[in-house]
Point group: D2
Chain length 351, copies 4
C-alpha cells in the first residue's frame, strides 16, 4: 500500500483528495494536516465522511508527516510549498503540489504574477508540470510534480492538438473561461456567499489572473515559441455553479491554411486516441460541464468557423477533479506505476 | 459476471443505474431498453458516458431481453412492470422493480391511490419490499424485489428504530419532506423547467401523494398496526436542487414516556449499528442532503423536544441513489450473495 | 417629504430598504449608516445602485442622525437598538426596528432566548408588533414599531384566520419552515458559502430558533392563551435559494369540529378580504415562494386533510420584503397616514 | 391612458410586460392574447398576479385586438408578426415587435438565418431598430419598432462608444455571451429542465446563432461598414441562472493607436452621459448580471489590455427587461412622448 498524506486537507481540494483516495485500492491515508482544525476528527469537519474516514486532523509537523508517507499531496495556498518539497526530497519521498509554487520554469515570472518571492528557485528544474496527457513520461520519472491549475488544464487541453503546426496563431489566442464557485476555495469572502453568487455571472481579474502566465508558458512550449512572445487574453468568469470549468477558446487560422471542421476533429481524435479521460465530441455536440461533474473526464468540442476564419474550441472539466485532485491522483498513479485510471475512472454524475 | 438489463434506461434512474453498474466488478450490462431512443447509441443520449458505455438503446422485446439477462432492473412508469415480472419469473430470472407496481401488499390500496387496475395481484405476495436495512433476509430469498420509493425510504429509515416500542404515537406522524427536482424525472413539464423551479420552493400534492399509503403500510407493519389505522400527514415540497431528499419527521411522545435526546440517539445508533449506509449524527448536527450527493449513504439527526413532548428526526438521502438506483443495486448485491456495498460504497460528493 | 434614515444600511435588509424607498414618492433618504463602510459612497458597496443613490455611508452618530430624520429604520443586529429608540423617543421621531429587541412583551422571554440582557424593558410597552394585517390601528398610533421576524410573519399569517375559534389546537401547532440563504444576512460564515448551500437543504437550530417565542407570543395572544401554555414545534430549514420563506403548518382539528376545505378557504378569504398583500389560493393551488420574489405579497394555500383530521396551511413570502423591509415600509406608510401600499405594491418577479 | 395589448402574453416576455405595465401610470392593459390559454383568467396562468391582474387570456382575433389598443406589443415567435403589423398600420396604431421579423434591413439576411420566408419585405423600411440609447429620435417618429434581441442589446451597447473611430478592428470582434435559461422561453425542451441546466454551463449554436447577423448589421452600420464585411464571432452559453446576460467582448486595437484604460473609460462615460439606464463602472469593477436583476439597467466594464493590444468590455443586462420587455416599454414611452423611464426606473434586485 502507498502511504499518502494530504497537507491542507480541510479545503475543497483536500476533501476531494480524501473522497477519491478513500476508495483507492492501493492507497492508505496516513495524514491529514490542517492548521484550522488540528486535533479534530476529520469527519467532524466534513460530515459526508461520517463513519468512513477514521483520521484526525494533524498539525503541520513537516518532518514527521513526510517520514510517515510515501507520497505527499500539497493542497496549501501558494508560497507555502517549498519547505514540504525540500523535506520530501531530503527523505526521498514523492510530492505532488496542487499549488502554483512549482509550475513555472522561471522564478521571475512566478514572482511577478504572484507578487512574492520564491524561496527555492533552484528546485524549479526538478518539477514536472503534471498534465499527464502531454507529459506522461516525464511525470513517471519525477520526484516533484507540479499539478496544473484548473484553468490551465482546460485551456491547454483545448488547443494542444493543433499547437506548433502552423494552423493557428498561437500567440494571440483568446480564452474565455467560466468557473464554478468552489474554485475560490472554502475561505470566507463576500463574493463566495450564496446570496451574492447565485443568479449571477461576472468577469473578474480581467487581464490579471495568475493563470495567464501558466497558460502562456505551456502553450508557448508546445508551439515552439518563447513565453514572452505570447499575448493571450484570458478572462475568467465566476459562474453560479459549485463545480466545473468551461473554457471557450478562439484561435485565428493562419492565412493560407485550409481546414474543415471534420479535418480538425480528426486531428483532435488522433491526438487524444487512447486517452481514457479526454473525449472529443461529435459534430454539433458542445460540452456541458455537468457531464464531468465529480469525474476526471474532459469533454472537448471543436469547430472551424468559416465565416470568420477562426477555430473555436470549448472544453469542460470538473475544476476540483481533472482541474485539481483527480489529476493529482492520476499523476500519483503514474509515479507509482499503477494503472493511470485507478480510483478516478468513474463517469461524471448526471443529472 | 452477472448479466444485467435495465428496462427504461433513458430516464434519470436508468442513467444512474448505468453510472453505478458500469463500475460494478461483477456486473456486465447487456441491455438498455428505451422506447424513445431505441436504436441510438446510449452515449448519444447521455454524453457523460462518451467512450465509456458501448451499448445501443434497444426496443422493449420482453422475451429476448429477459433471456439475455440474469437480473432485470425495471425503471419504467407504474403500470408497466407486470409483463416484465411475469416473464422474469417464467424464465427464472431475478427482477428488481424501481416502480410502485409491487410495493403494496394489497392491490386495492394500489388501485385506489394510483387510479389504475393491477394486472397481477396474485404476484404481490411474491414481492419483497426491498429496504435492506429492515428486510435483508427476505430480500436475499426473493425473486421479485419491490424497490422502495424515494420518500418512503427516507421516511421509514427516520422512524424505524422507535416503532412498536410504545415511545411515540406512530399513527399520527407528520412527515414534511423536501425533494430535488430530479424526483420528477426527465419528462417535460412546466414545473420542472429551470426558470420555474429555480429560486422557488412549494408544497405539492398535499394530502394526496402516492407515497402516503406506502409509508403508512411500512410503518404500520413495523409498529404492529393495521395500515388503515394510520393517519400520517405527508407533505412533499419541490426544492431547488437537482438531487436530494430531506424528510423532517414529527412524532408525539406517548403520555408517560420519559426519554432524553441522548437515550434516543443511542437507540438509533444501536438499531443501525453495523449498517454501512446509515449514519446517526452527533448532538446538534443536522443532516445536509449535500452530504449524500451521488451516494447511497443516509444521514439521520434526532432530538427530543422537551418543550413540546415531541421527537423530531431529519433524514437526508440522495433520491436517485439510496432513494432509487443505489438501493436497487444494494438489493441486487444481496440477491446474488455479493458484499452489499459493492459498487455503491463511495462517500457523497461535497461540495 | 418624509426624511428617512436607515441604521445599518449595508446588510441585505438595509439594501432592500434603499431599493424600495429610493422609489417612494413621499420619502427622501437622508442617512445610511454603516460601521464597516463609513465614509464610502453607498453605490460602491452595492453597485446595483450605481448613479442612482447619491449618499455616502455615515458613521453611527446617534443624536445627529435622529435629528436629521423623521423616521428611523433600524436594521442592526439584536441588542443594538435601545439607544436609537431612546433617542428617537426623546426627539419625538418615529422608529421602526427590524430586529428583535422590541418584539416581546416580556423582557425575560427575550433575555432567555437571546441570551442577553435587555437595556430598556420599560420601553417594551411602547412598542407595537407591526404586522399590519393584524394590528393596523395600533401601528397607526405607535411611536415605536417592532417589525416582525421573517419566520413569524409567514407563520402568524398562516393561522391568524382560525385562531381562537375552537377549530384547531393552537397550542400544539407544527410549523416546518424553509428559508432562502439571504435570511442569514451578509455576514461571512461557512454555511452561507455558495459551495456549501447550493444543492443542499438542511434543518438547523431545531427546537432552539429564536423565532419560536415570538411565534408563540403572537399566536397565543390571538388564540386567547398564555404564551407559556404554548408548545409549538418550529423547524427552520436552510434552502438553496436567495430569497423566500415557505411555512408549512400542521394543526390538529379539535375533536367534534366538522369543517371542509371549502369552508376553511372561505374563512381565510373573509379574514383577508380587502388585504392588498395577502392572497388566498384556489383549490389545489399551493404557493410558490417565487411568486412573492422581490414583492410584499403573501400567498396562502389551505386544505382540510380529512384522512388525518388536520388542517394544513402553506404560506409563501419574500423574507427580505414582507418578512422584513417591505413590511417595515408598510408600517411606515401607516405611521404617516399614506396609502399603505405606496412604493411596495409591485407584484413579484417571475420567473 | 394609453391602451396596450400584448400579443403572446403567456410567455416569459409577455409576463414581464404585464409585470411592468401593470404599474405604469399612463397605461391600461386591454388585451392579453394567448393561443394556449385563451379563455382562462390570466392570474391562473401566472399566480404571482393573483388579485392584481383582472384580465382573461383572449384568442388572437387580430382586427378586434388592434382596434381596442393604442399600442401593440408582439411577443410571439418569429414569423408570426407580419399580420399584426399590417393590421396595426392599417388602423394607424403603434406596434412594438419583440421578435426578429422586423429587425433586419435586408429580407434575404433574415430569410437565410431564420430559414423562412418574409411575408412583407416592403415593410422592413418602415421599422426602426429600437435601441433607444442609439436611435432615440428615429424611434420617436416610428410606427413600427423592432425591439432588439437580448444578445444584440448587450453586444451593441458594449462597443457603441468606440465604433467608427479607428480605434478597434470592428470587423473581427469576438463576443462571448452568457445567458440565463429564461432566454429559451417557457416552451418545454429537455435542456431547459432544472435537472439538466442546473450546475452546468455549455456553449450552444456555435457560429450559428440567429443573433449573429443582427449584431453584425448594427455594428457595421455604426462603424461605417457593410454588413457583409463583418466577421464577428459570437458564442452564446447557457448559464445556470434564470435571468441575465453577460457579454464579454474582445476587440483588437488598430495598429498605431495608443489608448489607456482611463481614456477608454472616459469615452464610454461621455458617450453614455445622461443615459439613465447605462452605467459605466469604475476601474477594476466588472459588472455582475445580478445588479441588473429585474431592472432595465445595463452595467459596462472596460479595460485596455496592454499586454495583448486588446480592448475587453463586459456588459450585464437582464435579458427579459433591457433585453426584451423593459426596452419595449422604454420604446413605448418614447413613442408616446412620456418620460423615458416611466415604470421601468427601478434599480435591480440584489441580492
Amino acid at each position: 500500500m502507498i502511504r499518502a498524506a494530504i497537507v491542507g486537507a480541510t479545503g475543497y481540494t483536500g476533501a476531494e483528495l480524501v473522497r477519491l483516495l478513500s476508495r483507492h485500492p492501493e492507497v492508505k491515508l496516513v495524514g491529514l494536516t490542517s492548521q484550522q482544525y488540528a486535533g479534530q476528527p476529520y469527519e467532524s469537519v466534513f460530515h459526508h465522511f461520517a463513519d468512513q474516514v477514521d483520521l484526525h486532523c494533524s498539525p503541520q509537523h513537516i518532518e514527521e508527516i513526510v517520514a510517515d508517507a510515501d507520497v505527499l499531496f500539497l493542497a496549501v495556498p501558494h508560497g507555502l510549498s517549498v519547505p514540504w518539497v525540500v523535506e520530501s526530497l531530503r527523505q526521498g519521498k514523492k510530492v505532488i503540489d496542487l499549488g502554483a509554487d512549482f509550475r513555472f520554469r522561471r522564478a521571475d515570472v512566478y514572482e511577478k504574477w504572484y507578487s512574492t518571492h520564491h524561496d527555492a528557485p533552484e528546485l524549479l528544474v526538478e518539477a514536472v508540470y503534471g498534465l499527464p496527457e502531454l507529459k506522461r513520461e516525464a511525470v513517471a520519472k519525477a520526484r516533484v510534480v507540479a499539478n496544473p491549475g484548473c484553468y490551465p488544464t482546460a485551456s491547454v487541453l483545448s488547443v494542444a492538438p493543433i499547437l506548433g503546426k502552423g494552423i493557428i496563431n498561437e500567440r494571440r489566442l483568446i480564452i474565455d473561461a467560466k468557473s464554478g464557485v468552489s474554485g475560490a476555495g472554502r475561505k470566507l469572502n463576500t463574493p463566495s456567499l450564496y446570496a451574492e453568487a447565485n443568479e449571477n455571472i461576472n468577469a473578474y481579474n480581467v487581464g490579471k489572473h495568475r493563470h495567464i502566465p501558466e497558460i502562456e508558458q505551456e502553450i508557448a512550449e508546445r508551439a515552439g515559441l518563447q513565453a514572452d512572445q505570447m499575448a493571450i487574453s484570458f478572462t475568467p468568469h465566476l459562474t453560479p455553479m459549485t463545480r466545473g470549468i468551461l473554457a471557450t477558446v478562439y484561435a485565428d487560422i493562419q492565412a493560407g491554411v485550409k481546414i474543415t471542421t471534420d479535418e480538425l476533429r480528426q486531428m483532435y481524435q488522433e491526438f487524444y486516441a487512447g486517452e481514457f479521460f479526454v473525449h472529443v465530441m461529435k459534430e454539433g455536440v458542445w460540452p456541458h460541464t455537468k457531464w464531468s461533474y465529480g469525474s476526471n473526464h474532459a469533454f472537448i468540442g471543436v469547430t472551424v468557423e468559416e465565416r470568420t476564419g477562426r477555430i473555436i474550441v470549448s472544453t469542460a472539466i470538473d475544476n476540483l477533479v481533472k482541474g485539481a485532485s483527480g489529476q493529482a491522483i492520476q499523476n500519483m498513479n503514474i509515479l507509482f506505476g499503477l494503472p493511470e485510471k485507478t480510483a478516478i475512472e468513474a463517469p461524471g454524475m448526471f443529472p
